[in-house]
């Protein structure tokens, strides 16, 4: 984890009100460790915070999940540029308020103030389980990244192939260009893919294998997945969203209520939590 100033490499619309922001990732940062949980590993489910405006306004940085990350390196084949591959990270963000409005104005080459990687990412699926990835709204970024990572793991024989489902109100809100082949698209109005919520889709879907749930999205969706996961006695890795100040576990600002009544910190205990333990009602 480190605060650093870097450079925007791309910033483009990917759906109505959604953009993908890409930026250079410093070469000496974020080498992926083998256990996938190392402090500097930008693993799926982990996040970073951006300064989204002036020096002190907004006073709070804005958190975003990695939607992609590639370390810098060298192509073994070399080439004109000596084979250098620049490191890059990305997020998919929704335009919500003043912070994201500012981020939308950034152009390639603009400076970007990043703090990360932060938080706990997704655990690996149990052997023999089918990873079911459910994304809604701003949850699409981290699930895309997780889908890609699990697909690579599956190709290497480390887990079963993941299935990604993306839910949205209507087709225009789905970042189709970013979705891997085979993604189940669900729209409330039926304008693309399955008509209904991802929860509806889930109810009618047979994963073949015992499922392992992964989800990120609005609280009602997260709660619906929790119900399905509970009924199937399946593990549920849920990435939560909560206002943050420090992002490092120091301020206790990002409290998430568990069904036990206890509070955990979204930034350091999460953002990935056991979805069966979270009090989703309190998050709504």
């Amino acid at each position: 984890m480190r605060r650093f100033d870097t450079i925007v490499t791309a910033n483009r619309p990917v759906a109505d009100g959604y953009r993908e922001l890409r930026f250079a990732w410093p070469p000496d940062d974020g080498r992926r460790a083998d256990d996938g949980r190392e402090a500097d590993d930008p693993a799926p489910g982990r996040f970073f915070t951006l300064r989204a405006g002036g020096r002190y306004d907004p006073a709070l940085r804005r958190p975003f999940a990695f939607s992609d990350w590639r370390p810098s390196g060298r192509r073994p084949s070399g080439g004109e540029d000596g084979g250098a591959i620049a490191g890059e990270a990305a997020c998919v963000f929704q335009l919500r308020g003043r912070g994201t409005a500012h981020l939308a104005t950034l152009r390639p080459g603009d400076s970007l103030d990043v703090l990360g990687p932060l938080g706990r990412g997704f655990a690996k699926p149990p052997r023999g389980a089918r990873p079911l990835l459910i994304a809604g709204g701003i949850g699409v970024g981290p699930m895309l990244y997780l889908a890609a990572a699990l697909a690579a793991d599956a190709a290497a024989g480390l887990c079963e192939a993941p299935i990604l489902a993306v839910g949205a109100r209507t087709a225009a809100l789905v970042p189709v260009g970013l979705l891997p082949a085979g993604t189940a698209v669900c729209t409330d109005d039926g304008s693309a893919g399955f008509r209904g919520t991802v929860a509806d889709w889930l109810a009618s879907f047979d994963p073949g294998l015992p499922p392992a749930f992964y989800a990120c999205g609005p609280a009602p969706m997260m709660a619906a997945v929790a119900a399905v996961a509970a009924s199937r006695r399946a593990p549920y890795e849920a990435a939560v969203e909560q206002w943050m100040a420090c992002g490092v576990g120091a301020c206790a600002g990002c409290a998430v209520r568990l069904r036990s009544g206890d509070y955990v910190k979204a930034c350091s205990d999460g953002p990935v939590l056991d979805g069966g333990l979270v009090d989703w009602e309190a998050m709504a």
Binding site: R51, Y56, D57, A59, W243, C246, A250, G253, S268
Partner: protein, 309 residues
């Protein structure tokens, strides 16, 4: 070049290596920021509040974004006195910077329990008495707004300090009062060794779309650059009303901000909310204060205030 010893600030038996600390509640118990900030370069760490019992804190959401500031209603969430001593203090012990424990409670006895217990523990250099916490009810208003009660509490704490008599009692003042000098004088009369000034202002943000307050608790504490002019005015007034040292805070994000407080009459400063935006802010502040002192030929931090015209 100014010798770094001139950056030291002594309050009772505590000598902070430099005047720039990190404010209570913004820096946890230090450990959380270890990867981001060189703790040994700080003047002091003011811990998150410690209460006798563990406290889960307030319902969520606890944070809101405001123009050039933020609201918090953390609610003194902390692991309690025993867990603080067992789990948090060992990390803090032996840091080069001073360790000031922020003390809170529901009753005067709560405050006494924390100070008496910690007096027996090494690694604590001073106490910051959080009498300005909106959660400590007293006749419907926050505790720290009643001069008589502040004086009595301060006196009890100062008297109780037996095992570690060198540790200063720093009373942290609320800006939510009609006359901050009355509370400042009460703390001084009760035997406070220093004041810190200011805690947060009471504020509220309403989410118009959701038609409810953003904070689950309704109101919260306003901090950040937005309140800096209020903090500077409070320090200016308080430091002229008492003869004990005043530590300034509220919206400090840069050396210039800190120097406003030091010129207004503070002998040291704390950086709170700015840490969230820029964890290295306190070190940048320190560099800037050091550079100012060299440029202006000021021998000690406490002399900065003399430069004000």
């Amino acid at each position: 070049m100014t010798d770094d010893r001139n950056l030291g600030v002594t309050i009772r038996g505590m000598t902070m290596p430099n005047p720039v600390g990190v404010a209570s509640g913004a820096f946890g118990y230090g450990e959380e920021y270890e990867a981001l900030v060189d703790l040994d370069a700080l003047g002091a760490i003011y811990t998150k509040a410690v209460t006798p019992e563990p406290r889960p804190g307030n319902p969520a959401p606890r944070l809101a974004d405001t123009p050039a500031g933020m609201l918090n209603s953390i609610g003194l969430a902390n692991p309690g006195l025993d867990a603080f001593v067992a789990d948090k203090l060992p990390f803090l012990r032996g840091r080069r910077c001073s360790v000031v424990v922020n003390v809170a409670g529901k009753t005067e006895d709560d405050y006494l329990r924390v100070v008496e217990r910690l007096d027996g523990e090494a690694g604590v250099d001073g106490y910051e008495i959080n009498v300005s916490c909106p959660n400590v009810a007293h006749g419907g208003l926050a505790f720290g707004t009643d001069p008589a009660q502040v004086e009595r509490l301060t006196r009890r704490l100062a008297d109780a300090r037996s095992k570690a008599p060198g540790r200063p009692i720093i009373v942290k003042l609320s800006p939510n009062v009609t006359d901050i000098t009355a509370v400042a004088k009460a703390a001084e009369a009760g035997g406070a060794d220093a004041l810190s000034c200011v805690n947060t202002l009471v504020g509220m943000v309403i989410d118009v779309k959701a038609r409810r307050t953003v904070l689950a608790m309704g109101t919260g504490g306003l901090s950040g650059p937005a309140i800096r002019p209020v903090g500077v005015a409070c320090v200016y007034k308080a430091s002229r009303a008492v003869s004990i040292p005043v530590i300034g805070l509220g919206g400090i994000a840069s050396a210039d901000d800190a120097l406003q407080y030091l010129l207004a009459g503070a002998v040291a400063v704390q950086v709170g909310t700015a840490l969230f935006s820029r964890p290295e802010a306190p070190l940048e502040v320190l560099d800037g204060v050091r550079a100012f002192m060299e440029r202006e030929g000021v021998g000690s931090v406490a002399d900065i205030r003399k430069l004000l015209r």
